[in-house]
């Protein structure tokens, strides 16, 4: 009985050794992406379209980093959360295109 217990205890420990390293990596990555975005704007004299592209790119990469690591979407069994967020993003895209089309053209 006690052997059984220590076995499950070991299993628990093996499951559990998710250190902080990858979260710190995600944090540093987010930090770097944020600083690049702010620097691109603070620099000022870059071409406007190019700055926009940098900004959108940095935001999308950072969101993926945070969704994957901090919101555990890269972990197993997260198909449903991914479907939920994609469904939301799909509606948002239609909404943004509609609003912009409606008011600008």
């Amino acid at each position: 009985m006690s052997g059984n217990h220590s076995a499950s205890g070991e299993e628990v420990r093996r499951h559990k050794v998710e250190g902080p390293q990858k979260h710190i990596v995600a944090f540093i990555l987010s930090l770097a992406l944020t600083i690049i975005a702010f620097a691109a704007v603070a620099a000022g004299d870059i071409n406007t379209t190019f700055t926009y592209i940098i900004l959108v790119l940095m935001a999308i990469i950072q969101v993926f980093v945070q969704l994957a690591f901090w919101m555990h979407m890269k972990d197993r069994g997260h198909m449903f959360p991914i479907i939920c967020i994609i469904a939301g993003v799909f509606i948002v895209f239609m909404m943004v295109i509609m609003a912009v089309y409606w008011l600008w053209w």
């Binding site: 499951h15 559990k16 945070q66 919101m71 967020i85 939301g88 912009v100």
Partner: protein
């Protein structure tokens, strides 16, 4: 008997997913987050469509100050990291350090709110009110809604800390801690879009 190894009060290694109720809460919370994406998306679409309609009020590039926004971004990002550490401490069943990380999360959230209130106050004194223009209305609605979410998160996590003191870390309280962390990260993700679309793109023009 071995299947009931946790009967002596020992927590399973991922207490938030140990019960069906906990798993259902997580599932339901993701549906809620999908709806939150749509909520913020509509506010973003309104803001993007109206952001050049400034009338007599100040324009985005005159108004925004990058150092303040950068400080707010750093505070919220660090706060998000603190709540990751809280969940990791929870997985290691270290209740004291979990509470410590949660308290740091709340304090940084409060710092963010103070910064935002000061910022809005400055804008109002510069003639950028809720009813100044379509730009100002959509700006305050979008950024204010995010600030409201931060305020709710601060309140929620504070109450959870109180509940942990009262009831301890159990399979009932663990899903709440886990979900508050997910919520907090979501707030941070929304802020990524706000500082990009509202502040940085507003500054570029």
């Amino acid at each position: 008997m071995s299947a009931h190894g946790h009967a002596e009060g020992q927590l399973p290694h991922e207490p938030e997913k140990a019960t069906l109720e906990g798993r259902n809460k997580i599932l339901g919370f993701w549906i809620f987050l999908g709806a939150e994406v749509v909520l913020f998306g509509t506010l973003f679409s309104a803001f993007i469509a109206l952001r050049h309609q400034v009338l007599d009020g100040p324009s985005a590039s005159e108004l925004f100050e990058l150092p303040t926004v950068f400080a707010a971004t750093m505070i919220l990002l660090t706060s998000s990291l603190m709540s990751v550490f809280a969940v990791q401490a929870m997985h290691r069943h270290q209740v004291k350090s979990m509470i410590g990380w949660l308290v740091l999360t709340v304090l940084l959230g409060l710092a963010f709110l103070v910064l935002e209130i000061v910022e809005f106050n400055t804008y109002v004194s510069e003639g950028h009110r809720m009813n100044t223009s379509a730009f100002s209305s959509s700006f305050y609605t979008l950024v204010g809604f995010h600030g409201g979410h931060v305020a709710f998160g601060v309140l929620w996590i504070s109450l959870l800390i109180a509940q942990i003191f009262k009831k301890g870390l159990t399979v009932v309280t663990a899903p709440k801690i886990y979900l508050s962390a997910i919520y907090w990260h979501f707030i941070d993700v929304v802020w990524v879009f706000i500082f990009t679309v509202v502040y940085l793109m507003g500054k570029v023009g």
